[in-house]
């Protein structure tokens, strides 16, 4: 035990296009894993396989010991424990901020309305947006939207959080506020898998950094190893371009 996520031989193709070519990885409880790599390398697809937003072509993905790739599994139940934050926030525009957060817990009968609201306000306070509870998403800045999206995921009380390029759609001055929330989460021991272009964040917060290219893990190691002493030519080449 100790491993929250175990991925064995994960393959994913879209029609004839092979995106993931056999990923093997174990992610420990409380680990913060950052995925880096050029666009089209399969980072986001890999992340989306972890909660089966993408149908898994072959291989196994064990989350809490249960194989997500198995079509017989109750995927909705599994997803309650796996929060996900998207590049484009995907807040529900027809609902207020607080309703965005309380919808899933109340609809899934995890909490009654009042408890969900109290919890939602607590989460909003945590991401520094308590005063925005009754605003609509369209009234928020990008950074605020993403912080609400994080609070919405946390409302289900997940023990794994997936982040799919959470700061890529943000104006530069708003990146910091989102990363700060993520840092706090990491410090609290949340298991996190983060696809990111923020090398600074990966260096500072990650326990382990994975460099992906062509649907494979090319190199992995501590931030120190990957950023300061990369071994693979492709990693070196990539880091030269982005750093």
């Amino acid at each position: 035990m100790g491993n929250k996520i175990v991925v064995k031989g994960l393959k994913k193709s879209f029609g004839k296009l092979d995106v993931l070519n056999g990923i093997n990885i174990e992610i420990a409880d409380g680990e913060v894993l950052c995925l880096i790599g050029p666009s089209g390398s399969g980072k986001s697809t890999f992340l989306r396989c972890l909660n089966r937003l993408e149908k898994i072509t072959a291989g196994e993905v064990f989350v809490h010991g249960e194989n997500i790739a198995d079509s017989k599994i109750d995927i909705n139940k599994m997803r309650k424990n796996i929060g996900m934050v998207f590049q484009h926030f995907n807040l529900f525009p027809h609902l207020t901020v607080i309703k965005n957060i309380t919808l899933a817990p109340t609809e899934l009968k995890i909490m009654d309305k009042e408890a969900a609201k109290a919890n939602g306000l607590k989460l909003l306070k945590r991401v520094g947006l308590k005063e925005k509870a009754d605003a609509y998403p369209s009234q928020l800045s990008g950074g605020q939207k993403q912080r609400v999206a994080i609070a919405r995921s946390l409302a289900m009380n997940p023990d794994i959080m997936l982040f799919d390029e959470p700061t890529s759609a943000l104006d530069p001055e708003m990146v910091g506020e989102v990363l700060d929330v993520m840092k706090t989460l990491a410090a609290e021991g949340m298991t996190m898998v983060v696809v990111t272009h923020e090398m600074g964040f990966a260096r500072e917060v990650a326990d382990r950094v994975i460099f992906m290219d062509d649907g494979l893990i090319v190199e992995e190691g501590t931030p120190e190893q990957i950023f300061n002493h990369p071994k693979e030519p492709r990693t070196i080449d990539f880091l030269n371009k982005v750093l």
Partner: protein
């Protein structure tokens, strides 16, 4: 003014006819909305067989005139199923047949509106809902449809107005709604034909205007975060 003469002389029959028109409109739109939502949802689902049937239905309705559809439903169906003891009469006669025809017709167009409205919603919305653990049906009901409804609203209202005007075609199977009423009055007062048909037109114009104006109010009410 001949128009005022026509109204003051014939308003009881016009009001009765107006109520027939409104009744037919409301009933067929109600059923068409339900039918259209179901068919629209089927057509975006992955259920192949049902999808084929849904698309086939829409193609048939779109590819044939409403007038022919009315004849098929009223005369055709009555004849074809007569051996099985079917008749429109115990079911409400031409009135019911007319509503069935209008429902089937408007339902097909509504199905396309619903499908288009749902497909216009960013797919990230469904992904976000599903990633929270919400099942497909709940995500559709709570997240996708409320948003889709807002984008569909202008098209829905448009279809409502079309169906309202299409009730005039039901006159051919003998329902005394606004158009048929105009025909009867005009037949007995050939010198006032222009005034009579203008009165009929004004009645349609008034209810269509009321419908589209109240739609504007609804559209404003359901807009969010503006």
């Amino acid at each position: 003014m001949e128009i005022i003469d026509v109204i003051s002389q014939h308003y009881p029959s016009f009001l009765a006819a107006l109520s027939e028109t409104i009744k037919m409109t409301i009933l067929s739109l109600l059923f068409a909305t339900i039918l259209g939502t179901i068919v629209g949802l089927i057509n975006i689902s992955g259920i192949k067989l049902l999808k084929v049937i849904g698309i086939f239905y829409i193609d048939i309705i779109r590819g044939t005139p409403l007038l022919v559809q009315i004849f098929v439903i009223y005369y055709g169906v009555a004849q074809a199923f007569k051996p099985m003891g079917f008749s429109w009469n115990p079911l409400g006669g031409a009135f019911t047949a007319g509503i069935v025809a209008l429902t089937l017709n408007a339902g097909a167009y509504m199905a396309e509106i619903v499908r288009g409205g749902i497909e216009a919603i960013d797919k990230g919305q469904m992904e976000a809902a599903r990633s929270l653990g919400l099942p497909y049906g709940k995500s559709m009901l709570k997240i996708i449809l409320p948003q889709a409804f807002r984008t569909m609203l202008p098209s829905i209202i448009n279809q409502f107005i079309i169906t309202l005007k299409d009730t005039s075609l039901i006159s051919v199977i003998g329902i005394r709604e606004l158009t048929y009423n105009g025909k009867i009055i005009a037949a007995n007062a050939t010198s006032k034909v222009m005034a009579i048909w203008l009165v009929v037109a004004i009645f349609y114009l008034i209810i269509c205007t009321i419908l589209s104006k109240s739609a504007k109010v609804i559209e404003k009410k359901v807009a969010y975060g503006k």
